[in-house]
């Protein structure tokens, strides 16, 4: 018990150095975020801060369920879009220049593409959803990953997409319909209260602090008071625990958080690995690096090194934590 309190203290209540305070002031962040960057990255923290000042490029995912991607390319180029294929994302394109809003073209309205950030796209490629399987997306709105699951399985799947927030569930439905899919059920509920079992695969792109998308939404530099981190962490842990309960033996859970915070990544996985029925899947990713196995003197489960981190300053993406887990046979 005492040891656990000590760990929590080191994860959530570390001291803030003068250097962190100075950088927080300079770049406009909450100081606890900067201190964490310094502890994780050392001098490289400034590279991350600088990278976060560069806005995210707009990226789209071509929906080859409705249109061949080379045809979509042609159509966008005809409309004077300048686009570039993203090498590590099979359906991903970066919009270099666009004559008008990317989310307002006729091709968008026809469901031929979805506006999605590269890290977010990568999560579902790593998950690798299988045709004819029973899949749950536990925090699904606005539908980027649910629609990608349906696309990669050619709409031949049993997908349950769950969303609690009323204001977000409408866009989930609208996006799945616009993109031409039908093999899904949207549930308006708290995923922690689901009464489902024996899923083949579960995606938990967890509600998070959103620290990973500072490039897109600079308000995130300061929007979360430090006291929120424990609440977010607890919610993520509860959701992941529920995911493990709902998956069948040998089934896979993909956990992701659009954040660079250890509290939302490694520490959530470290806690879940205390369950004896869970293991980490060693996942090959075309980009990214190993997750951390130590923070501020706290040693995490060694298996966590097989989880993946994406960094804005190294990979040009959002900040992301991705970890694939497997439920062991009883």
């Amino acid at each position: 018990m005492g040891r656990n309190l000590d760990i929590e203290e080191k994860i959530f209540n570390y001291e803030i150095s003068q250097e962190a305070k100075k950088l927080a002031d300079k770049y406009g962040y909450s100081d606890y975020i900067i201190e964490r960057y310094l502890k994780l990255l050392g001098n490289e923290a400034v590279d991350l801060l600088d990278a976060n000042e560069i806005p995210m490029p707009q990226t789209i995912r071509c929906n080859d369920f409705l249109i061949r991607c080379d045809k979509l390319e042609e159509r966008l180029i005809d409309k004077n879009f300048e686009i570039k294929k993203i090498p590590f994302l099979p359906h991903g394109y970066e919009i270099i220049n666009s004559p008008y809003k990317v989310g307002a073209t006729h091709e968008y309205l026809m469901g031929y593409y979805y506006l999605q950030d590269p890290g977010s796209m990568l999560v579902v490629y790593l998950m690798n959803p299988k045709k004819n399987s029973f899949i749950i997306d536990m925090a699904a709105a606005p539908g980027g990953k649910s629609s990608q699951i349906l696309q990669l399985t050619k709409d031949s799947v049993k997908l349950v997409s769950v969303e609690l927030k009323k204001d977000r569930i409408k866009s989930l439905r609208s996006n799945l319909q616009r993109m031409g899919f039908s093999s899904y059920i949207i549930l308006e509920t708290d995923a922690r209260k689901l009464n489902l079992k024996d899923a083949d695969m579960i995606l938990l792109d967890s509600p998070s602090s959103g620290e990973g998308i500072i490039r897109k939404d600079p308000k995130r530099k300061k929007s979360r008071p430090r006291s929120d981190m424990k609440k977010i962490h607890l919610l993520q842990f509860q959701l992941l625990n529920k995911a493990i309960d709902m998956i069948k033996p040998e089934g896979e859970v993909t956990y992701a958080a659009c954040s660079t915070a250890i509290e939302e990544g490694e520490y959530v996985i470290d806690k879940i690995l205390r369950r004896e029925d869970v293991d980490v899947i060693n996942t090959y990713s075309p980009i990214g690096e190993h997750a951390f196995t130590e923070f501020n003197g706290v040693r995490f489960d060694d298996r966590i090194k097989n989880c993946i981190r994406l960094w804005p300053h190294k990979h040009g993406t959002e900040g992301f934590f991705i970890c694939r887990l497997k439920k062991n046979q009883n």
Partner: protein, 173 residues
């Protein structure tokens, strides 16, 4: 205290089915070519019912779930004994346009239509009076519209949008 019933998908009544069939027959479509297992979403105190065509692999699952917000292929909704077609239904019906006749617009007409504006003579390639599916030059569906002849002598034809794909931007969320 009585608890609120959770939204649930239920089988259509014969009356519901007749309402949908009536709509489809008006535009010349055989129901079996666009739906196989339609169900309605029943929400307590709602004043309309969304109608979905449920794929076979979801059938068992939907019958055991509450709190359903949406599922399967959205066909439209029934309100006060009338069926209102949804946008996804366009895709299934557009494949039949070679036999049921649909309205077709040129590029400028397409633009106007997707802004929710009416389209006149010069920008209409194929015209049909009454409720119809509206296509662009590439035969891609753009929405539901009504073809009207507003002056027989001068042959002024217009297409008024009922629900177009621009809805996804304006109202889709």
């Amino acid at each position: 205290m009585q608890t609120k019933k959770e939204p649930k998908l239920e089988k259509l009544t014969q009356q519901d089915l007749n309402i949908i069939k009536k709509f489809l027959s008006e535009i010349g479509v055989n129901p079996s070519s666009v739906m196989s297992d339609p169900m309605k979403l029943v929400i307590e105190n709602a004043y309309y019912n969304d109608i979905f065509d449920i794929p076979v692999q979801l059938k068992e699952l939907v019958s055991n779930l509450n709190s359903i917000y949406s599922s399967g292929f959205y066909l439209g909704y029934i309100k006060k004994k009338k069926f209102y077609p949804g946008l996804p239904l366009l895709r299934r019906i557009s494949r039949l346009c070679y036999e049921i006749n649909c309205i077709k617009l040129n590029e400028f007409g397409e633009k106007l239509f997707l802004y929710g504006k009416k389209v006149e003579n010069d920008n209409i390639i194929l015209f049909k009076e009454g409720l119809s599916l509206v296509l662009n030059q590439r035969d891609e569906p753009l929405g539901w519209g009504i073809g009207k002849v507003i002056n027989v002598h001068k042959e002024i034809k217009i297409v008024e949008p009922i629900k177009d794909l621009g809805w996804y931007l304006r109202r889709g969320g």
